[in-house]
Amino acid sequence: MKRLAMLLALLAASPVAAVMPDEMLPDAAQESRARAISKDLRCVVCQNQSIDDSDAPLARDLRVLVREQIAAGKSDAEVRDYVVARYGNFVLLKPPVEGDTLLLWLGPFAVLLLGGIGIAFWQRRRPTSTQDAAPLSAAERAELDRLAGSDN
């Protein structure tokens, strides 16, 4: 029972964001937009966290900046462009499909395609059934008997 309660408590716990109460916008709708944008922006110090997850001081500055821009009436796209203009596409955790990100987007499909071609080759080269093999000629049969050392 105790164990079950502990498990349930663990399940109920959710990942904690780094957003501090004093950073939040008073308007709930604006705050949820800010959260959504922050989740897509990479923390340039820690790199594999979003600024929404990161405790780095620079991430905090960027969260505050995102909220300022939203409060000033900017659209989500404008806020994102503002940050990208300063740090480049790398800050977007989901980079746009562009010339220099094509390899990133198409690479996995290319590998899948190559694998598929490989399997197709392998399947074609494998004999489909043993019946396709021609029956042994009399000479082959005699040679086989000799090698097997049988006397019938």
């Binding site: 340039v44 110090v45 790199q47 620079l58 500055d61 300063r86 740090y87 480049g88």
Partner: protein, 177 residues
């Protein structure tokens, strides 16, 4: 043909190993600057001495300058400091932005290590650093005569980087019209 198919996996492996091996030599912390060949973002910062002179982007005109983003809390900055002093001694102007640093801490750092800077601005809120695309300290920008950013050094300037990369660039920028 059969021979080729046989060595294909080896070729693919070699290609992948070379690609990933190259990846290991790249430092993911070094983001390419968005500012190269673009004008220095506008800023007008207060100084680190109350009532003293600050630093504004408008003053980056007429001669090539270095703009060094540093902080007293930055671990690599004391290591870079002698190089900055040498650069200043060689006659190349170095300007500084103290990033997310209390002015009194910045002053204490300069009192302890010496002050090679021709001008200093304090960016305690960190907003100018974001406009500059700074990801950490120290970072140094090379700004040309027209106020455009031409080069960004991420991390401390070593004597080698100064001799081999930045100094030749500064000399070239001085010669530019």
């Amino acid at each position: 043909m059969k021979r080729l198919l046989f060595i294909l996996p080896i070729l693919v492996f070699a290609g992948l190993a070379a690609f990933l091996g190259f990846g290991l030599t790249q430092d993911p912390k070094e983001l390419p600057s968005q500012l190269i060949d673009r004008p220095l973002p506008e800023f007008a910062l207060p100084g680190i001495v109350e009532g003293g002179p600050g630093l504004a982007s408008a003053s980056f005109r007429g001669e090539p300058r270095l703009l060094n983003v540093w902080a007293s809390w930055c671990a690599a900055c004391p290591q870079e400091h002698p190089v900055l002093e040498r650069i200043a001694k060689e006659g190349f102007p170095v300007y500084g932005i103290a990033w997310k640093d209390k002015p009194e801490d910045s002053r204490a750092f300069l009192a302890r290590y010496g002050d090679p800077y021709s001008g200093m601005g304090s960016d305690f809120p960190g907003r100018t650093a974001i406009d500059l695309g700074v990801t950490g300290a120290p970072e140094t920008f090379v700004v040309d005569k027209k106020g455009r950013v031409r080069f960004k050094q991420i991390g401390p300037i070593s004597p080698e980087i100064w001799e081999q990369q930045i100094k030749p660039l500064m000399q070239q920028l001085r010669a530019e019209a």
